[in-house]
């Protein structure tokens, strides 16, 4: 009776034969992938130059990968809300002065007429009639 270890070794032998006889296209693609990997290893200067940039980004990605989004999402939403509030506060409510200017310019009366107190009084009086 074959023991567990021996049986495992025989099974692995069959699997290894199968793996070594993969089709030519697969073998070629694996060989290309290996060459690309070795080429990437043989470029330490490029890798070193990119390291600080990538390291920071990888930390962020890794952090979010491990559930960091639970922290970042509320912070992001808060920032968006703050930006929206600031925007609405700082933006001048432009439509009212522009409307007044347009009314003045389009009127047949000269702008000085609106500064005349007697004219204003006459307007009020005539509107009450």
């Amino acid at each position: 009776m074959m023991d567990e270890q021996q049986l495992a070794q025989k099974i692995v032998g069959v699997l290894e034969n199968g793996a070594q006889s993969v089709d030519a296209a697969t073998a070629a693609r694996l060989a290309v992938a290996r060459q690309q990997a070795v080429a990437a290893m043989a470029q330490p200067d490029h890798a070193a130059a990119m390291q600080p940039l990538l390291a920071g980004w990888e930390r962020v990605v890794e952090f979010s990968h491990h559930g960091g989004y639970r922290f970042w999402m509320p912070v992001l939403l808060l920032l968006v809300a703050l930006a929206a509030a600031l925007n609405s506060t700082l933006t001048p409510r432009g439509s009212e002065p522009i409307d007044a200017d347009a009314l003045l310019l389009a009127s047949e009366l000269p702008p000085e007429a609106y500064a005349d107190k007697e004219f204003v009084a006459w307007l009020e009086h005539s509107s009450q009639l």
């Binding site: 567990e4 793996a19 070594q20 006889s21 697969t26 073998a27 694996l30 992938a33």
Partner: protein, 187 residues
């Protein structure tokens, strides 16, 4: 510190096994190739300067993580597909879809007679049995026996206890042996 030749030799030694390992886990040959390629690149870029003796464990950890990431991405993709198909509602074309076509499309490529000629019946049976094993049992079996890691290395790679590795391996071997017996095969 490893030289490019040492890295190349290591990858040449494990690449086909790794490809098969990924294919057994995810059952998609093209995705398995992508995963192995990514794992190779990651090993070279991030750990290429490590001693060659560390390569087997590092590569296995990268490969296992890549396989898990694949499943994670697939889960999200499936979720979106389900949601979108729920929104889009029924499609007449889909209603007319012949279920037999789906069955034919999902069939194992090894059912193709030309492939069957090339591959031995024993290998096909073992590969199918290996695919049907629970993921952790398959992982333990492949690492321990195929990649020839000892129990401690396998446990470290899998992130579990040595006792768990022994249990997973034992169950895997028994399940494979039972399948071979059922098929009337002897090794």
């Amino acid at each position: 510190m490893a030289t490019p030749k040492e890295l190349s030799d290591f990858l040449a030694q494990v690449e086909r096994r790794a490809y098969k390992q990924a294919a057994y886990a995810i059952r998609d040959d093209h995705a398995a190739l992508d995963i192995v390629q990514d794992a190779m690149m990651r090993l070279a870029e991030k750990y290429g300067t490590r001693p060659p003796s560390e390569f087997p464990m590092l590569f296995q950890r990268i490969l296992q993580n890549a396989i898990r990431d694949h499943f994670r991405r697939q889960k999200v993709r499936n979720l979106w597909t389900t949601l979108l198909s729920a929104f889009s509602g029924g499609n007449d074309d889909e209603d007319e879809h012949d279920p037999l076509e789906t069955l034919a499309g999902e069939a194992d490529p090894s059912n193709d007679p030309s492939v069957q000629v090339e591959r031995s019946q024993t290998l096909i049976v073992i590969e199918r049995a290996l695919q049907k094993l629970p993921a952790r049992q398959r992982e333990a079996f492949v690492l321990r026996y195929w990649h020839d890691m000892d129990v401690a290395e396998t446990a470290a790679t899998m992130g579990c206890s040595e006792g768990s590795v022994k249990t997973h391996c034992s169950r895997a071997v028994h399940a494979l042996a039972a399948t071979l017996r059922m098929e009337g095969m002897e090794l």
